[in-house]
């Protein structure tokens, strides 16, 4: 699963954006968007703002859940009291594996096949010639072996496979809640005015940590 998270201000202006991948089921936390998809993501997010503005007056909740869908991209929204929109675009891995190049098929195969250990030993040598950053890739697949052999997680109930399941909804709610807390802290700065871009590296690190923790 790949994620694209953006905070949109009251003038539909972006305040913050961050791309990441899942860290569950041995994901390495890297987004698997293709170069084209990454540029498209911004448009998808932007177009869903219209729907957010329709929903926002019918429901007083801050978490508006899934608001929009564009092919395989799902958009969840969280709306703060002062009309700042948190938008999270999430894309299940099946779609990105068809479009992205080499690194993905190996990782998705290792996540789904039961005979995992043999496959993960087979794959890295074959990809060595193509992918320069081998160390991170083997690191990722190693951690996936440890979680999967524990037998705790199944792909069918995972967040990654079901973008519309209640578990996913809850995970995203937790993610948004944590980001919201940090956002409120960010605006507490006396030097911050509404609609200013959030540049703090501490904030970015906190968002990344929330992503690793819940998604």
């Amino acid at each position: 699963m790949s994620y694209y998270f953006a905070i949109i201000g009251t003038q539909d202006n972006p305040l913050f954006e961050y791309e990441f991948g899942t860290s569950k089921q041995g994901g390495d936390g890297m987004a698997r968007f293709t170069e084209q998809a990454r540029q498209l993501n911004q448009f998808i997010i932007h177009s869903s703002l219209d729907i957010v503005e329709e929903v926002q007056w019918t429901n007083g909740q801050m978490y508006l859940k899934l608001v929009d869908r564009f092919f395989t991209s799902y958009i969840s929204c969280f709306l703060t009291a002062s009309n700042i929109k948190f938008l999270l675009l999430h894309q299940p891995p099946s779609s990105s594996s068809s479009s992205s190049a080499l690194p993905h098929p190996s990782s998705s195969a290792s996540a789904s096949t039961p005979s995992l250990i043999s496959s993960s030993h087979h794959h890295p040598p074959s990809s060595t010639s193509v992918i320069p950053s081998l160390s991170t890739l083997t690191g990722g697949s190693n951690s996936s072996t440890s979680t999967l052999t524990g037998g705790t997680s199944r792909t069918s109930t995972s967040i990654a496979a079901n973008p519309t399941s209640p578990q996913t909804e809850e995970a995203i709610r937790n993610f948004f809640a944590e980001v919201y807390e940090n956002y409120v802290k960010a605006i507490m700065s006396p030097f911050y005015r509404t609609n200013m871009e959030i540049r703090s590296p501490v904030f970015r690190a906190r968002v990344a940590a929330a992503g690793r923790k819940y998604l």
């Binding site: 954006e17 961050y18 791309e19 990441f20 991948g21 390495d28 890297m30 987004a31 698997r32 170069e35 990454r38 926002q56 007056w57 019918t58 007083g60 909740q61 801050m62 709306l79 703060t80 009291a81 002062s82 009309n83 992205s100 190049a101 690194p103 992918i131 320069p132 950053s133 991170t136 890739l137 919201y180 807390e181 940090n182 956002y183 409120v184 802290k185 960010a186 605006i187 507490m188 700065s189 005015r193 509404t194 540049r199 703090s200 590296p201 501490v202 904030f203 970015r204 690190a205 906190r206 990344a208």
Partner: protein, 244 residues
């Protein structure tokens, strides 16, 4: 290769690159993100310190202004960003069940009367009224019998029109604007409406005027915050009301 793309996509980089951005941490390493947003009930600020600071704010706003209107406007502007931030902070502190964005004018005004006032002044505002005049359905009034901001401000006679609660009005305006209810908020001393200008003083209130006379005598500093919403707010209110 793909591993490096997301890091480059952002414009700030991770926390580890804090040194590159020229950001300087405090010596104890605690940034604003390390401090809790929830305060205990007893965490109150000294009234004397507030009075001193507020007096300075008023005299600062008074510099190079040409009239009372401009002075009140400056006080209003000082309060506005506070309101914008309070809205998010106070809703964050609400328990999750009641953490609802205000969707209509009444909910918003109740939020101001109860949550904002309690946070700022330690008690609720005294009254909430809707304008009885059918020509101005967009006007609402929040009434405070003795605003804390005016407690230690003595207004000179020649400036009797001035009400320094314009600062609190600015806070209200910030809350309204932030919640998506653009409004114009002004503070008025109630004694002004019927009596002479001398009613504003601390010893005033002798010029009783009909229905309001009693209140004017009991609360010489009673202030009305007149909230005038923009026409589009009422338009939306009617639409939402028709739907539900």
């Amino acid at each position: 290769m793909s591993n490096h793309l997301p890091a480059g996509a952002g414009n700030g980089g991770g926390g580890g690159r804090a040194g590159d951005s020229g950001l300087r941490y405090p010596s104890n390493g605690k940034t604003i993100y390390h401090r809790p947003l929830n305060r205990t009930k007893t965490a109150e600020l000294s009234k004397a310190a507030f009075a001193y600071l507020f007096a300075e704010m008023v005299s600062y706003a008074q510099r190079r202004v040409t009239g009372i209107q401009e002075l009140e406007k400056r006080l209003n502007l000082q309060g506005h960003p506070i309101g914008l931030k309070l809205l998010d902070l106070l809703l964050f502190r609400e328990p999750p069940r009641t953490q609802l964005r205000p969707l209509n004018i009444i909910a918003l005004l109740h939020f101001i009367k109860i949550n904002v006032w309690t946070h700022l002044f330690g008690r609720q505002a005294d009254r909430l009224e809707k304008s009885s005049n059918p020509d101005t359905p967009d006007e609402f009034m929040i009434i405070d019998n003795e605003p804390l901001v005016n407690a230690y401000i003595s207004v000179p006679k020649e400036m009797s029109q001035l009400n320094c609660a314009a600062f609190a009005a600015g806070i209200i305006e910030g809350v309204c604007d932030g919640a998506g209810f653009p409004a114009r908020v002004t503070a008025h001393t109630v004694g002004d409406t019927g009596g002479s200008g001398s009613n504003n003083g601390s010893g005033g209130g002798t010029g009783a005027d009909g229905g309001r006379g009693e209140g004017g005598e009991m609360w010489p500093g009673r202030t009305v915050f007149l909230v005038k919403f923009q026409p589009e707010v009422l338009e939306r209110e009617a639409l939402i009301g028709a739907k539900s």
